[in-house]
Symmetry: C2
Subunit: 122 residues, 2 copies
């Protein structure tokens, strides 16, 4: 393991970049769960109410296996709750804050689209 070269310089105001990198890694991992349109649709669908896999597959107009794969990603990231109900498996949204975060990004998107439109018409 390579040691840090300048570890004894005075403490900078920002935290050690190495640690910072690992921290951001975790956030990035969470963002990776959100960079897929179908997964976003799933999250919004679950924000309304819990749904079964088949329901979500129909909603996405995607094959069952594909839907299950996307749900597995969200499950591994801990973004959804799972509950077995008889023959089916019901998924639900665990953190409403995730929707709030995406909504914020959507607002930014709106501003940006307006900006681009403004540039074109100038």
């Amino acid at each position: 393991m390579a040691k840090h070269t300048t570890s004894e310089a005075g403490r900078p105001k920002t935290i050690e970049p190495r640690l910072r990198q690992e921290l951001e890694e975790l956030v990035a991992e969470m963002c990776k769960a959100l960079n897929e349109p179908k997964r976003l649709m799933v999250l919004y669908a679950l924000a309304e109410r819990p749904r079964s896999v088949g329901e979500l597959a129909a909603y996405l107009d995607a094959p069952q296996s594909n839907t299950s794969q996307h749900l597995a990603v969200l499950r591994d990231r801990g973004l959804v709750d799972v509950e077995r109900r008889g023959n089916r498996v019901i998924y639900s949204l665990r953190y409403p804050k995730v929707i709030a975060a995406i909504d914020l990004l959507r607002e930014v998107l709106n501003e940006e689209i307006g900006r681009q439109h403004q540039l074109r018409s100038a």
Copy 2:
């Protein structure tokens, strides 16, 4: 300003999935800009103050070309502003809301980490 998506009572609760898919595609594109630790670090660094490419490269402890590539992604997504100052190019954060969104995800991350810890100790 940003229009409020008032949940109009007469409308169907969900919009056409086809259109919805395209909308989410755009949001997903924006998330793709955030799913890279170094890009997140860049955004936070720019949230403090505008910085040049060399400065950011040093901060990331990454080669110049790599830094430029990441900046190109942020630039293409419209998340940063660019200004040429003499020999250098100064980047700055365009939308503070992006930081707010990431902070929200960070909160979710904290809850999730606490949750996992709790599960392990049970």
